[in-house]
Amino acid sequence: MKIQYKGIRSWLLTMDHKRIAILYLFSILFWFLLAVLIGGLLRFELMFRGQTILSAELYNSAFTLHGVIMIFLFIIPGIPAIFGNFFLPIQIGTDDVYFPRLNLLSWYLYMAGGGIAIVSLFSSGFPDTGWTFYVPFSISTKTNVSTAVFAAFVLGMASMLTGLNFITTIHRMRHKDMGWMQIPLFTWSLYATSWVQLLATPVISITLLLVIIERYFNVGLFDPAKGGDPILYQHLFWMYSHPAVYIMILPGMGVISEIIPVFARKSIFGYKAIVASSMAIAIAGSLVWAHHMYTSGMSDTAIFVFSLLTFVVAIPSAIKVFSWVSTLYKGSIQMTPPLFLALCFIYLFSVGGLTGLVLGAVGPDIHVHDTHFVVSHFHFTMFGGTGFAFFAALHYWWPKMFGRMYDFKKAYIGAILLTGGFMFHYVPMFILGLQGLPRRYFDYLPQYETGNFYAGFGAAFMIVGIFLMVINLLSSLKKEKDASSDPWGGTTLEWQTPSPPPLHNFITEPEILAYPYDFSGVVERYSKDDKGE
């Protein structure tokens, strides 16, 4: 049956979902840390007016790179490819994903996409279009946009195949005793995400190919002189890229829905409502893309409809926030680094969601569209949201994945530096946006100097916090394995296997709970421990 390799081949040719997850973990961490440093460069350049450390050309390439890497190489694959790959099969009580070979292929496609992105940098100029690749600029600029969009195309393939794999796995490989309403919420969130990945990604794939075709053959699809329409590109782009923000945030919400109950030692509040809201976000979130285009010149009727739908999609996110907070009520709450990060997530994501209401409302959006306000808003949702969920997931599942516990104190210091720096970085950007500072500005008018100066300090704190957390986690790998199979007192199936789990995940047949967040067993076990039995 399965061939057992040794050494490096046991990793590069592995079809074990857990090993693939760890391959993803280290490759994604590499790209993330690189993009963090590039983001830092942007911020430091903006601290003072005029040119300081980057030229205008380099600055424009740097924000393009920061965006492309963060979106396509970190946030979209981040949680599903690492934690989804590792824990989805375990949470549904099976030994692997449905298509293990395809899973490995996804990783190679991911690496190839990253490689092509690097090639695009060192051949005929850094791409300088922003991650949105808006036409006609992306068609007329002389830099190497074709290679960069091709990288995004390949990464899209990896993402689609992962989605396909997860959907099939959840349908076909669930433990025979596990019904749909017994699936853990993290897996549910991946199910919703996977559908969006599978259905929306082809749109961006085609669109990116059209950009390449335009650059080489100049057909005129987006050129009004030839009967094309530049706004068509924006529709096609956002038709994927807005659902993509839900690809980014839904798995993060799933992580939070796992962490809060475990450390409150109490059932999640409103399991079915959270499941339903995940699916509602996936569906409604696919119908709001043109709220990125209120100023584009599209019809007022379209603006009316898209604004209305945008407010509808706010509701399921609000439901989740209310459910998480209510879960804490009358719990037995143990503070740990993953819970701390999850609580920071709730706060930061709420700020991001609420400022999203300002952007969904047409009149106010006209003012703040394409300003620092928007940049701050999506960093609150994408970093304060998905990024913090990513770190929460790392700290929550690290002992399970590697069998080693990390140092709590350093984790807290890192998390506090990150959160404090985050506020210092992005709150001034809200104010700058309201004052009218556009995004993607290499230089700015004198009235915007103060906010930019302070934001730079925030960025520095964030970078230190991030590296401290990562180094703290990595240095735990030098220790002996010390994590028990269930260090937190969880109810989902990954806590029924050894840390780290063996090749086929379960040594004994897992016990499926009638309700996935029934903590009565955990409470009983720990109260016995307290009495020394």
Partner: protein, 203 residues
């Protein structure tokens, strides 16, 4: 002219309405969350209660936010109609964007670059297009922003109620000189405007 509602007021009202509610929500959620974490910490509350949901509570927090969200939508949309409905008798200026400057054409064929002069208390309509890639004309003081797209005419209008200088900037990334693509709107008295607009171009 006094019966024209300045859309700036409408936009700001909508903004404060939304952000006001948001602050209330944010504070409520955060304070309750912190209170629960302190009140129900494990050292004080060893045995958790088994509460899995509450239909009434969940219904309330679906229905109530829905109404609030819809009211936010309405306020945003109303302020937008203010930005779209140009009052009669507006001064119309043709705007052409190019990398990296703004060209303005007055009705009497006077031309300017990166600067417009307009009379106070007169609505001004800008008809906008682009000669090359997409740009976007943004005047923060008047809360207006609209893309300049080659082959398409877009518009925005504003009511300058105070004399003074107001910046405008490009907000759609257009290349190396994007952040330098800005200029000034000078709002002057009607007399001064008449004198300025009828003066022959010096260049």
């Amino acid at each position: 002219m006094n019966n024209i509602v300045n859309p700036v007021t409408l936009v700001d009202q909508s903004f404060y309405y939304i952000i006001g509610f948001s602050f209330v929500f944010l504070f409520a959620i955060t304070l309750v969350m912190i209170w629960f974490v302190i009140r129900y910490r494990r050292s004080k509350n060893k045995i958790p209660s088994d509460i899995r949901g509450n239909l009434l509570l969940e219904t309330v927090w679906i229905v109530l936010p829905t109404f609030i969200a819809l009211s936010m939508f309405v306020s945003g949309w109303r302020s937008y109609t203010g930005l779209r409905n140009v009052p009669e008798g507006a001064l119309e200026i043709q705007v052409e964007a190019q990398s990296f400057s703004w060209l303005f054409y007055y009705p009497n064929e006077k031309e300017t670059e990166n600067e417009i002069v307009v009379p106070v208390n007169t609505p001004v309509k800008l008809n906008i297009t682009s000669l090359d890639v997409i740009h976007s004309l943004y005047v923060p003081a008047f809360r207006i922003k609209v893309d300049a797209v080659n082959g398409i005419q877009t518009y925005a209008w504003f009511l300058p109620e105070k004399e003074g200088e107001f910046n405008f900037q490009c907000t759609e990334f257009c290349g190396t000189g994007h952040s330098e693509m800005n200029g000034v709107i000078r709002v002057v008295s009607k007399e001064e405007y008449e004198e300025w607009v009828n003066k022959e171009d010096e260049w």
